[in-house]
Amino acid sequence: MAEPLISLRGVGKSYDGAEVLHEVSFDVHPGEILALVGPSGCGKSTLLRIIAGLVPASSGEVSSEGRPLTGLNPATALVFQSFALLPWLKAAENVALPLEARGVPAVERLRKAEHLLDLMGLRGHARAYPRELSGGMRQRVGVARALCQDPRVLLLDEPFSALDVLTAQTLRDQVVDLLHDPAVATRTAVLVTHSVEEAAYMADRVVALRSNPGRVAEVVAIDVPRPRRWGAPELVPFVDRLYALMT
């Protein structure tokens, strides 16, 4: 098996003496979609922020691309549940924000942003402000902004929770397709979700977490070929297994 892109060994996290994460270990391999699933308060969002380098681990080791992680993780890009778009910037400007931060000239960065918006099915919306877009369209902009950094690993923090059922389903398929699209460099994703069904539907492997403090119950491989169908009978045993692990 190839070298893991990201590797966590015995990671713990405490806030003011209260232990949130305890001895968490797993790897993220290139080309896979790894889901972190667990009840609320199990620290799955904190884990994602540790991987992103936003929050330092209190104990244990985190390495990214074979090197110990210090500060922001340049190999990752984050997609937010709340979309986190700047309301005063147009869609394309929001997408191009990471490039602007690196000093890429306006023409070049906006060309790339519009290309990514096209990929996300938002052709013609580049000049719209976030408030003029629906929830699903806003999250597409959020995904495009993350992809704009050409991350090796896409970090998804409950990206579909704020969307209605139909929109969420469309967007799930779109994200899975993107990770296999030759036009996109990113192949790997870590998905945080509280929905066991979503984890089983999208992921290659699922890290099931328990709470108080958050720790790994088991890592379950979902060996069901793609394309998958939502609620397909071959997914049911995995869903049942994950429910059993979490409770």
């Binding site: 992103a52 936003l54 922001l72 990752t76 890009a77 984050l78 937010f80 549940q81 709340s82 986190a84 778009l85 700047l86 309301p87 005063w88 910037l89 924000l97 990471p98 602007e100 931060a101 690196r102 402000y129 976030p130 408030r131 902004r145 950094q149």
Partner: protein, 566 residues
């Protein structure tokens, strides 16, 4: 028209006292030891109406300078308070006190200070006027920057961080835009307040024949003094025209533009810009494009200035520099403390015995003006509260009326009172009234508009009217706003008091007994440092005492007891 929030009330601390002491000490340092009397000779002002555009330009220039200073201060102080615990502890209480003190009382002190700084040149008076306007504008703007920066949603901050934003890009894309809505709103309030103090400073400078500050305020004051009422009217009309034009061409478009920088997407707070400005802009794409381009340039420039400042503050070499500045400030304060001790240890002058009585008389005048303000603003606001449409029709009129600085009418009012042979107490109360009533009206009308539609329907359905409606519906609903309005109205009243008790017209000075007159005599007749200090200190103490003993507890009680969100 400063807007007070519950949060702001809670930020009071013991540091208020220290800040107050610092202010007093600075005043003492300014006056140093020898007695000063402002000279009463001056150049005369050319009263030809052809000079009006020039005077308007002078006035506008002072306003612009002061506003630029305030903007810089607001961004710096607001950012510092939001980014460092030390900054927060120093800045917030200081702003709180500075907002409450009657600024006009310090104007003579400011004139002395700046005239010394500029070695007796008239530029000193100019600087004092700009400084006075600055002190009326900066504090609430700094608060608004602080509040904007501390309420940026966490996810947006994180998104900016993971996108690698820093320096100029961070300021341009996140920090400055986040400040826009509150900053624009507070800039409008500050700008309106600035006119009040600009006109006041011009009138003081002329009225005392100290130095001439050529401008619209001095033009109006001088023509009234000489009894040329037609010219005074021309001056007033020009002033109103300048203010209304600026509102229509600058502030309204800015306000509707600032809407785009809000986080919420709800349409509840539709922009307050008059529709015709927006349709005008829509029909003038060239103008709109030009405005947008100017806005972008300005944003970019502000962003890089702010980022440079921010980076400079984080550099290692700036630390020793800051320490040096702090040491210098401490040294100045220490010097001031020695001076203060020396002054206060002198035997009290005979006039000092008049201070308590004068304070009481002034307080009674404020109380009377307050009662008159309440007597007409409450019924009007209650009437407005019965239907949402009434407010929409009334507000533009009131906004235009209130945007004209009351100080511009001071010379007119005084001339009328003198012509009719009325007691000067009448003009004193009337002048104070002009400094108080709008704060009450604006806060009450805002409360009237905020009454939920279902409560309004309940009142209609129960047939509530008259006094019953006032007692059971409007007053409870408007109480928190009434209290904040009262607090700001009293602040405005104390300021107006300084100008209202002692007036100079047609070469004579009339005065009524009061704290404003005492300050006036101490400054212009005797040049008595000890007396000036005592008067300012007792006035500031009275203001702070009233705020602490009356308004804050009342507000704390009302904001818990009378709220709609439950």
């Amino acid at each position: 028209m400063r807007v007070w929030s519950a949060e702001r009330f809670r930020r009071a601390s013991a540091l208020d006292g220290l800040a107050l002491l610092a202010v007093v000490l600075v005043v003492l340092v300014v006056f140093l030891d020898e007695p000063h009397v402002l000279p009463r000779t001056s150049d005369t002002l050319d009263l030809s109406p052809w000079m009006l555009p020039l005077y308007a330009a002078y006035s506008l220039l002072r306003m612009l300078l002061a506003y630029a200073l305030s903007l810089g201060f607001a961004l710096g102080a607001g950012y510092w308070a939001s980014a460092s615990p030390l900054g927060r502890r120093l800045i917030l209480p200081a702003l709180d006190v500075l907002q409450a003190v009657p600024i006009l009382g310090f104007f003579p002190a400011a004139i002395f200070f700046f005239i010394r700084l500029f070695h007796g040149s008239a530029l000193g008076v100019e600087a004092a006027a700009v400084f006075l306007i600055f002190t009326s504008q900066a504090w609430n703007m700094a608060f608004s920057v602080y509040e904007s920066l501390t309420t940026i949603p966490d996810d947006l901050r994180t998104a900016a961080q993971v996108s690698g934003l820093s320096g100029v890009v961070l300021w341009r894309r996140l920090l400055l835009p986040a400040c826009v809505p509150r900053l624009v709103y507070n800039s409008m309030l500050s700008w309106a307040g600035g006119w009040y103090f600009l006109i006041a400073s011009e009138i003081i400078a002329v009225g005392r024949r100290a130095w001439v500050l050529p401008g619209l305020g001095s033009y109006i004051g001088e023509s009234i003094t000489l009894g040329r009422h037609g010219l005074a009217a021309a001056g007033l009309v020009s002033l109103v025209a300048v203010i209304v034009l600026l509102n229509v061409l600058v502030w309204s478009p800015l306000e509707s533009w600032s809407e785009r920088f809000r986080y919420e997407t709800s349409a509840a707070g539709e922009s307050a810009a008059p529709p015709f400005v927006r349709s005008l802009l829509r029909r003038a794409p060239l103008l709109r494009g030009a405005l947008a381009r100017i806005g972008r340039r300005l944003g970019g420039a502000l962003g890089s200035v702010a980022a440079t400042l921010g980076q400079a503050l984080s550099h290692a070499w700036i630390r020793p520099l800051l320490v040096l500045v702090a040491l210098a400030a401490v040294g100045a304060l220490g010097y001031g403390a020695v001076q203060a001790a020396e002054v206060l240890l002198r035997p009290l002058p005979a006039e000092a015995a008049q201070i308590p009585a004068a304070l009481l008389l002034s307080f009674l005048r404020l109380l009377l003006a307050y009662a008159i303000s309440l007597a007409w603003t409450i019924p009007l606001a209650a009437w407005v509260s019965r239907s949402a449409r009434r407010a929409g029709r009334l507000m533009p009129v009131v906004q235009v009326l209130a945007s004209v600085p009351a100080t511009a009418f001071f010379p007119v009012l005084v001339a009328v009172v003198l012509a009719l042979g009325l007691d000067l107490n009448v003009s004193a109360v009337a002048l104070v009234l002009t400094g108080m009533q709008w704060y009450l009206l604006f806060n009450l009308v805002a409360a009237a508009q905020a009454i939920p539609e279902d409560v309004r329907e309940l009142a209609r359905a129960t047939g509530a009217s008259g006094f019953f409606y006032l007692r059971r519906f409007f007053l409870p609903a408007a109480l928190p706003s009434l209290i904040t309005g009262s607090l700001t109205a009293w602040g405005g009243g104390w300021n107006a008091l300084v100008l209202s008790e002692s007036v100079t017209a047609a070469g004579r000075t009339w005065s009524v007994k009061g704290i404003g007159t005492l300050l006036d005599q101490a400054t212009y007749v005797k040049g008595d440092l000890q007396m000036i200090t005592l008067v300012i200190v007792s006035m500031v103490a009275a203001v702070l005492l009233l705020n602490r003993a009356v308004w804050r507890p009342l507000y704390a009680w009302a904001s818990v007891r009378y709220r709609f969100d439950g």
